[in-house]
Amino acid sequence: MNILLPPGRRLERIGIALLIVVAVIFPKAYGGQDYLISQARLVMIYGLAAVTLNLLVGFGGQISLGHAGLLAIGAYTVPVLGNNYNWPTWALILAAGVTTALVGLVLGLPTGRLRGHYLAITTLGFGLAVPELALSTRVAPLTNGSEGLIVPTPTIGSFTFDSAGHPEAFYYLCLVVVLLCLLAILSLLGSSSGRRFMAVRDSEDAAAAMGINTWLTKVVLFTTSAFFTGIAGALLAFQDGVIAPTTFPFGLSLLFLAIVIMGGMASVWGSIAGALILIVVQVEASNQPGLSDAIIGAVVVLILLLAPDGLAGLARRLWRLAAGLGIPWSAGVGPRLRRQPAAEPPEAGERPPVEVRHGR
């Protein structure tokens, strides 16, 4: 349990513990409201996908604009294998992870040498190429082109977990899988591999000087991130019941990026929190016909404008504003905030105060 709750301020640990508790009791509190439970499942699934992206971007210092492409590989693996062979659900989920990991490996090999905008556009191309391939006539025998594939219902033994018929059971299945993945990811980050990722992120030259094989580290990073992305993709396939190339547009990759940035780079729980916020935004935005994408884009731009240094800067400014206006309790909090950084050691995974900048 210690792995899940990071060391540090009590408030954070309470917040995360509260989140987990709420996640566990949510379906019971809202039994019968299939739509809300379904949205909650999406939060978990998108949250996991955002965490895997964060692994790549926040902890690994890479850029990826094509995360939806990796998700698509994991998602398609489930019906392609599940409809043709009678594999148990857990095997399908694992297979999705492995397949996507292999693709991540192949992707990581050449792109590991790229940086900045070159990496951005290459990953963008990947993210667009995957749905296009799924749509193409050459691959259609496998992926059924535009009509998409029906996903077999998840089962354990004789008990079915499908998202339409047994929403609560499927919710708990997702919760278990997601928590297991988070556990694995967090322990990985705490291990020597995790430290290698971050060393390469902070300064490739320094890492190389320390004897780290930077290229190999990056390849391992891509592969590991892809593995868990595949698992998220499998859950998404079960959640939707039918997947098609149009399930993975570019906007989805952008959504994950937005979640990662908002929640905080190099923060696993931040990504989960970011997913919650943006899904709520998306739900509200879907009431506006034709504008839901635009609203998400606007929210993202606004947040990045008001807080280009993350939500921390925004909060800092808000507190200062409140203190300036003479609101009693904020004044109490304000000075305490300013004192805190000195007292607190940097978290595992947080950048050290001094940044090594590359080039410009």
């Binding site: 301020r9 408030l11 954070e12 917040g15 995360i16 989140l19 709420v22 509190a29 809202y30 409201q33 299939d34 739509y35 809300l36 296009e132 749509l135 259609a140 082109g145 535009s146 009509e147 998409g148 029906i150 339409a164 019941g241 039918v242 997947i243 098609a244 149009t246 399930t247 547009p249 908002m262 929640g263 905080g264 923060s267 931040g270 989960i272 929190a273 919650l276 916020i277 709520v280 879907s286 009431n287 016909p289 034709g290 504008l291 994408d293 240094d309 939500l311 921390a312 800067g313 925004l314 800092r316 507190w319 905030l337 300013r338 805190q340 950084p341 978290e347 947080e350 950048r351 940044e355």
Partner: protein, 394 residues
Amino acid sequence: MASGHGLKPRTVALRLSVVALVVVMMSGWNRASTSAPATNGPGVTKTTITFGQTAPQSGPAALYGESTNGVRAYFSYINSKGGVLHGHKLKLISYDDMYSPAVSVELTRKLVDQDHVFAEVAVNGSATNKANLTIQTPANVPLIGSQTGASFLQPFVKNVYNVWPAYTIEGKLLANYGSKKLHLKRIGVLYQNDDFGKSLLQGVHDANITTATEQSYEPTQTDFSPQVQALKSKNADGVIILAIPGATTAFLKAMAAVNYKPVRLMSQVAAIPEQFSLSPQMFPGSYLGAFVPPPTDKKNKQVKTFLAAMNKYEPAKPTSVFAEWGWMEAQVAVAGLKLITGSITPNSYENALNRLKKFHFMGGTISYSSLSHLGLKHMFMEKAAAGKLVQITR
């Protein structure tokens, strides 16, 4: 991103998300207490019946979303005459699914679980409809007029009532007209690489003609010269174009660019008025399959009513063939409503629809039974003359 002083982004995000959670939970509590089951079905109150719809309003398939305007116009028209079933007024809740099955299935969940719609009408797309069925069928939500002629809905799904002809019918019509009436010897085909295009292509095959070549294209494609080259090199004297409007126009332009003008036979989907100004060289003289009369045919009584209603209730919205689709699907939906006896529930609605026989509407005549929910069985041909579409066969 240096964290420096102050709260870490993670903390702030966590706090915000707890707030968001609380907000969600509070709003959730509210809704839980107001869902009131009635002796009537969901979506029915003493004065209203609510239908749901998902259709693309943005993205490459946004034109199909014009069907929403047609449905709304028809509902307003019926409401102005006093509504149905002793004064029930019709309401429509429509969401933009951006042509994505993932989005569509969540919106359908919302329509069923939160908005408690009575039935759905004019839902667009093949993959989207396929995904939505996983929600609609277990919940027994009647769906009238799914906008796809795909085979998984033929001939009978308990809660789905087709209005459109099966896609195969149009393909067969175009192929037969080209080979038998126009005596074309080497017919080429351009088809969209999705279920719409491929089912139409299947219809072409059903007509037992030998095609010179079959070229597929992607919905987002903008450059058609490869397909034109392929058709030209096979000396096709006619081409069957199974494509959406934008693609059709771009394809026509690509043909004009190399001075290639075979006989052109098109799917109804391409029949928008803009074609005349967008392709002044190549569109006139083309033949089109159709199952609704062209919106410019003011002599047709059904079209006249449609145009008047659109003008009154949905002014400034395009009176395109897509709006006509919505209109006629709403016509069938309402015809079924009028046959309901007793309480208004999904089951009584389905029973009523199964009793619908020889209903005359914009698309012609339609009948359902408890064994067949097939849509229109007949289509006709139009020709693009100077500035308008003219019906040339019955």
